[in-house]
């Protein structure tokens, strides 16, 4: 077994769960396994480039982001945000009334999120869902820490603005993903 093999096994076993969670948060359940497999396939092929220590996981997230970007591209025309919402588990809230209220708010905030620039969306998700520090977000996205800081600042404001706008409109329709203009 080569040093690269050993390293890959370490990376795989240490971070499989994280990568799985990352992908599961961003795509439908039937696509998760492919995305995770693609991510680790890339890691295997580029094992010499996988950074050591704390940078490894953000690096894997960056790969997974690109993998999922491929999925999103192909699916943009067919899949909408409500697909992702529909795949959300309901077991993290208690009573049905709570669930309905929270689900509506979740839909609305996710719809607001979908109206932001893709990178800003990902910065927010990495920050809130993966709980990454700004330095790690920068590693994952391949941008500077300063850019992350600035964009996070803007993204928070923009998200609040979009959410407020949706609240005022009473918009309950599922989000239409951005796209088509490019």
């Amino acid at each position: 077994m080569t040093a690269g093999d050993t390293r890959f096994i370490e990376v795989y076993e240490q971070f499989y769960r994280h990568v799985y969670g990352y992908c599961r948060r961003r795509t439908s359940s039937d696509r998760v396994d492919d995305a995770v497999a693609d991510t680790f396939l890339t890691a295997w092929r580029k094992i010499d480039e996988v950074p050591p220590g704390d940078e490894c996981l953000p690096w894997l997230y960056g790969v997974a982001y690109r993998v999922l970007s491929h999925q999103w591209r192909g699916a943009t025309r067919r899949r909408r945000l409500h697909d992702r919402l529909a795949s959300m588990g309901a077991d993290w809230h208690t009573g049905p009334e709570d669930y309905i209220v929270v689900r509506h708010e979740s839909q609305q905030v996710l719809e607001a999120l979908s109206r932001l620039k893709p990178t800003d969306q990902e910065i927010l998700r990495l920050t809130l869902w993966e709980e990454l520090a700004q330095e790690d977000v920068a590693t994952a996205l391949g941008i500077s820490v300063g850019a992350v800081r600035q964009r996070l600042y803007e993204a928070r404001k923009n998200l609040a603005r979009e959410y407020t706008r949706l609240e005022k409109k009473g918009n309950r329709t599922p989000a239409a993903q951005k796209g088509g203009a490019w």
Partner: protein
């Protein structure tokens, strides 16, 4: 007092679809077994350990379409950059002929490119004549390419990272991979690319001035448009070249890989066949 911004951030945190990974019953994580599986599949695929079969089997998208679209993004992007009148880029039935020619070449087995096109010096045998007229475009594009930081030799312009970066910045799409696009004054080679389906939608709009519907095929429209954009040129396509590797870079698989060649041909043929059916159903390309 909680501000709207704070409240929305809290809501977004709560909207995490998987707040607790431990709630998922994941498969047993066995890196040794997974690695062995990768190596085994790789050996089955190529006889070596350099390329696992999953690379091919997981590529379910029409890769050639991506490569073509990548080149199209460059071309149309240049057009947009230059403010060219998109209404001039009329898509006509000639585009269908180009595609048919392309499909015939594919079905005839012209998938063995003996030359490595990535060095910018040679082209493969696959060539489609372009015979419509939009002569002014090349001069404008040539100028655009020249002023960019693309590496340029006497005959061939190779354009990859610079344009990718420019498009990334202009469109705020950092996930874009790298594409490569070669020209030598009479031929175009769409080498590799990694652009998204949304780009194809944009491309179609740019190329036709119409909204063609979300499911229209990008390849046909690109070819049709390119057919008019480069009169007298030949379009050469290399479906041996992989889209940019995840994380950037450019990784041709090797032109002597028959499995991979067959895979590309299969995907492309099916893709074109599906589009032909769509054309039949809808009455053909829009004017």
């Amino acid at each position: 007092m909680v501000t709207t911004e704070e409240r929305v951030m809290t809501l977004l945190a709560q909207a995490n679809p998987i707040p607790d990974l431990d709630s998922f019953d994941l498969i047993e994580v066995d890196g040794t077994r997974y690695l062995a599986n990768l190596n085994r599949r790789s050996s089955e695929m190529t006889g070596t350990d350099s390329k696992p079969a999953e690379v091919v089997t997981m590529r379910r998208r029409p890769l050639v379409a991506l490569a073509l679209t990548a080149a199209a993004v460059l071309v149309v992007g240049a057009a947009a950059w230059l403010g060219l009148n998109r209404e001039d880029l009329d898509v006509a039935s000639a585009g269908v002929a180009v595609v048919e020619e392309f499909a015939r070449a594919v079905s005839s087995g012209a998938t063995d490119l003996s030359e490595d096109v990535t060095d910018g010096a040679t082209f493969g045998p696959m060539a489609v004549p372009l015979d419509n007229d939009l002569a002014s475009f090349w001069a404008a594009l040539d100028t655009t390419l020249t002023v960019s930081n693309c590496a340029q030799s006497a005959q061939v312009v190779r354009c990859d990272y610079e344009w990718t970066d420019r498009i990334r910045q202009a469109q705020d799409r950092p996930e874009f991979g790298v594409f490569t696009f070669l020209m030598d004054g009479s031929r175009i080679a769409a080498i590799s690319g990694d652009v998204d389906q949304e780009a194809s939608g944009w491309l179609k709009g740019a190329a036709t001035g119409n909204s063609l519907g979300a499911d229209a095929d990008p390849v046909v429209h690109y070819l049709a448009w390119l057919n008019q954009a480069y009169p007298g040129w030949e379009l050469e396509l290399d479906w041996n070249a992989e889209p940019a590797e995840i994380g950037g870079g450019f990784a041709p698989l090797g032109h002597d890989d028959p499995v991979h060649n067959a895979r590309y041909a299969e995907v492309l043929t099916r893709h074109l066949d599906e589009y032909a059916q769509e054309l039949n159903a809808t009455g053909g390309l829009p004017d």
